[in-house]
């Protein structure tokens, strides 16, 4: 069976790549994709740990299920916000919507 740490490593990789996307992309939609990647990496971890450490305890899968829910909600609301921003400012570049300061 594939050792656990490999799953974890891949998950970590996906997470970091997603984080990079979130930190560096200009397009809000792309940022959202990065967030999805990060959430997904978390899910991989949850399931992997569930399988290798506590396969008889539902916690891992249950939490993964909740992460799905969160991801769905986050995507829906986030995209809605992006679209309404685009409608009002004709732009989804995050630098263009940094008025909320000082």
């Amino acid at each position: 069976m594939v050792p656990l740490w490999m799953f974890l490593a891949v998950a970590a990789g996906v997470f970091c790549i997603g984080a990079y996307g979130v930190l560096s992309r200009r397009n809000a939609v792309a940022i959202l994709m990065g967030v999805e990647l990060m959430l997904n990496a978390v899910n991989i971890n949850l399931i992997a740990f569930w399988r290798y450490v506590e396969p008889l305890n539902m916690a891992g899968q249950a939490f993964a299920a909740f992460v799905f829910v969160i991801a769905a909600a986050e995507a829906a609301v986030g995209l809605a916000i992006i679209i309404s921003v685009y409608r009002s400012r004709r732009s989804v570049i995050v630098e263009d919507v940094d008025m909320l300061k000082w």
Binding site: A19, V22, L23, S24, I31, V94, E95, D98, K101, W102
Partner: protein, 784 residues
């Protein structure tokens, strides 16, 4: 646990106590408070001494919604009251409650890694007495508020807020751990903010609200530090686990504190908590918010000053008392730093506030300062180990101070009524709005739309109210006497006397702090008696000094009834609450009220472990005589100055002549620093600290801008406190400091989330690195 044994089992009952008001809050907010937006006319928004806000679109709750809300709020608090009565009944039945058994139950609340954090309720003697006082006072205030707020368009909202307030206070009282207590504490902070700023259309009101909020916040942060530190040290915050655990206490007392070398951990935690209390129950130097808090409606003042908030501060101290005591023994003159701090701050505040109160003309301001001073009494008492005396005074004070506030409230109400009457009679300055105002409420006090603005709270405008408002007069008199500690028959006398007796005991054994406390408290007791008499004299005695005062009354019907009933009930307690704590060795009275033992004392002392309990005092004449002298002396002086020759209209207050140059200073609450300094602190210290401040002040702002070492930042925070000290809290030190700070950190706020995230990520990595380095994982990793 099903509902049935939840109700039947007294261990679960405490859970239900706060539920009523909290539920009421949600129900009112979500359901019954049906408000429609209308353009305000003075009648909808006629309110206590602040200009109306004609033209604004304001929410006005429908009549039905208003009545519903009142019902809900009232039933909530009454439910809480009944439940607590049940609990109290059962608690009193138990022999030596607290020593062996206490009521309460805990549930695991959050599992933090290895340790589980329990939430729970606890009923021990201290809680019991609080449960006697708080719900009763709250209920009275609620009833009172029905009448007092009857003309306010946002009455429903008001009831929601005070319900939340009461709920928070009850939570705090029944909490069995410091965190739950802190939760209640903070919710109350929020409520006080909302309620002080209830008439937010008034600039002064919302400013006062913000002031109160921020001031207490400063203290609360420090208190939270203490809580966190305590949790770090002990791994639990449950009172009984910590305070009924000799080992833990001694450990706390003997481990030196972090980065405050000299202190023990217990002392540091204690000081942190005390600072929290200083903020909450308005002790010097953080007392500044309390007088301004008078901007809120009077029931709120009563709530904050008597029933709930300020008591909460003292209650917290009493609750955690063994912690402060740990490592010392006040009964043998061994005062730990926190105790010392309390003794000094408390006694000083008592005197300080009393002197200010002497020169106030605003009927509520006087009471505000008297509150500060009375709380000073309690703090001082705690400082010298007079644990039970403090608790006793807390209770009695709550009763008579609530009484006084509500009485003054009805005085104000009456004055406004009179004022309205005057306006009406002279027939100028009232329009259609005013008409329908009178149509749908018998005495819409619309002081809004006529100039010059008449101040219904200024005692100089009153006088002779005893004729028009007899009930208020009698009750106010009772309350006042109780506050002044009129010998033998008032509650205030017994509690104060006990404090003085404790102090005297220490003094006879030659302990410095006790002596200080004794002298200062005696003087402030004298002043208290004096200004109380002055207030009563100015308000009720003599002849009416203004038209308004001549016609001041509470009118008829439900309003006047709801506003007088609580007064009468509380007046009863203001007298008789004292007799539960009569020391048995007291001549005559002792044999009457406590033949065998001092019931209050015997009951409450079991809150502590047996070896921490103070011993029964042997009766001594000197303190009793002292309290006689100061009380009667003060009252007498007041009588001479304000009763025998009542103030005539237009005549200036005799205080002005007597105090001379001091008068404006007192009137302005020592606003002038030099005088403040000369009167209070030893000049040398002051001089030194001034220099230090100047010097450090410059250094700090530089220090921060150039990011000098953190020690300077720490000194800076310390000096920030000193600053508030010197310039009476509102000094310019903090604003500048904060402004510079903000100006510096402002540039971090680019409005770009990604940058923030980047910072977060970097920080996380750094922390992880530190953690990894400390726990040697990296080493392992390189190894494996």
């Amino acid at each position: 646990m099903n509902v049935n044994d939840l109700v039947s089992n007294v261990n679960f009952l405490p859970w239900l106590i706060p539920v009523g008001p909290l539920l009421a809050f949600f129900v009112i907010t979500l359901v019954t408070n049906r408000a429609k937006m209308v353009v305000a006319t003075s009648s909808e928004y006629a309110d206590h001494n602040h200009p109306g806000y004609m033209g604004l679109r304001v929410p006005v709750s429908s009549v039905s919604g208003r009545i519903l809300s009142i019902t809900v709020g009232l039933s909530g608090i009454i439910a809480a009251w009944l439940i607590s009565l049940t609990v109290v009944g059962q608690a009193l039945a138990v022999e030596h409650l607290g020593e062996s058994e206490v009521f309460g139950s805990t549930i695991p609340w959050m599992v933090t890694g290895i340790s589980t954090f329990n939430m729970g309720v606890l009923v021990d003697p201290l809680t019991t007495i609080m449960l006697i006082m708080v719900p009763l006072a709250c209920t009275m205030i609620f009833i009172y508020a029905i009448g007092y707020m009857a003309a306010d368009a946002r009455q429903a909202r008001f009831f929601a807020l005070i319900s939340l307030f009461a709920g928070a206070m009850l939570t705090l009282v029944v909490a069995d751990n410091l965190l739950l207590l802190f939760v209640g504490w903070e919710v109350m902070g929020l409520c006080s903010y909302l309620l002080i700023g209830f008439w937010f259309e008034k600039e002064s009101a919302y400013k006062a609200a913000i002031k109160a909020f921020t001031t207490t916040r400063v203290a609360d942060v420090i208190m939270m530090l203490g809580i966190v530190y305590l949790y770090m040290m002990t791994g639990t915050l449950s009172f009984r686990d910590i305070l009924h655990n000799e080992v833990m206490l001694s450990v706390l007392a003997n481990t030196p504190a972090v980065l405050f070398g000299g202190l023990s951990a217990a002392s540091l935690i204690g000081i942190f908590l005390i600072i929290g209390t200083i903020g909450k129950s308005a002790q010097f130097p953080l007392h500044v918010w309390l007088p301004d808090a008078m901007e809120g409606p009077t029931p709120v003042s009563a709530m904050i000053h008597a029933a709930a908030m300020v008591s909460a501060g003292v209650y917290a101290i009493i609750r955690m008392y063994p912690l402060f005591e740990a490592g010392g023994n006040p009964h043998h003159g061994l005062l730990t730093p926190p105790l010392m701090l309390m003794a000094v701050v408390g006694s000083f505040t008592a005197l300080f506030a009393a002197t200010i109160a002497v020169a106030q003309n605003d009927v509520k301001k006087v009471l505000a300062y008297s509150t500060i001073s009375q709380l000073g009494f309690m703090m001082a008492a705690l400082g010298i180990g007079a644990y039970i005396a403090a608790a006793f005074h807390l209770i009695t004070h709550a009763f008579f101070k609530a009484l006084l506030f509500m009485a003054s409230g009805s005085v104000i109400h009456g004055m406004e009524h009179g004022d309205h009457h005057v306006q009406h009679a002279h027939g100028h300055g009232h329009d259609d709005a005013a008409h329908d105002a009178h149509a749908h409420d018998d005495h819409g006090h619309d002081d809004a739309h006529h100039a010059p603005h008449f101040d219904p709270q200024d005692m100089l405008n009153m006088g002779g109210l005893r004729k028009t408002m007899p009930v208020t007069f009698i009750t106010f008199l009772i309350g006042g006497l109780s506050l002044a500690g009129f010998p033998l028959i008032t509650a205030g006398f017994w509690s104060k006397d006990e404090i003085l007796a404790d102090a005297w005991k220490g003094l006879t054994e030659g302990f410095g702090p006790h002596a200080l406390v004794f002298v200062l408290l005696a003087v402030s007791a004298f002043l208290t008696a004096f200004y109380t008499m002055r207030q009563i004299g100015l308000t009720f005695w003599g002849e009416a000094r203004t038209e308004q005062a001549k016609h001041a009354n509470l009118g008829q019907g439900i309003v006047s009834f709801t506003m007088t009933l609580p007064l009468v009930i509380l007046a009863f307690f203001a007298i008789f609450a004292g007799f539960v704590g009569v020391p048995p060795t007291f001549p005559i009275f002792g044999s009457i009220f406590s033949p065998s033992e001092n019931p209050f004392f015997e009951f409450v002392k079991n809150t502590l472990l047996s070896e921490q309990q103070p011993g029964e005092l042997t009766f001594a004449w000197f303190p009793v005589l002292t309290s006689f002298t100061v009380a009667l002396g003060g009252l007498g002086l007041g009588y001479l100055m304000y009763w025998r020759k009542p103030l005539q209209a237009g005549e200036t207050d005799p205080m002005v002549k007597i105090l001379g140059g001091l008068y404006p200073i007192l009137k302005n609450k020592y606003y002038i620093d030099e005088v403040y300094v000369r009167v209070f602190v030893k000049p040398s210290q002051v001089f030194a600290s001034v220099v230090v401040v100047r010097f450090m002040d410059g250094r700090i702002i530089d220090g921060i801008l150039h990011g000098i070492a953190r020690v300077f930042i720490w000194i800076g925070d310390f000096l920030k406190l000193l600053n508030m000290w010197l310039i009476d809290g509102v000094g310019d030190g903090i604003p500048e400091y904060v402004a510079a700070f903000g100006a510096y950190f402002r540039r971090f706020q680019t409005g770009r989330v990604q940058q923030y995230l980047l910072w977060v990520a970097i920080a996380a990595i750094l922390i992880a690195l530190v953690f990894a380095a400390s726990s040697g994982w990296l080493v392992q990793a390189s190894g494996g």
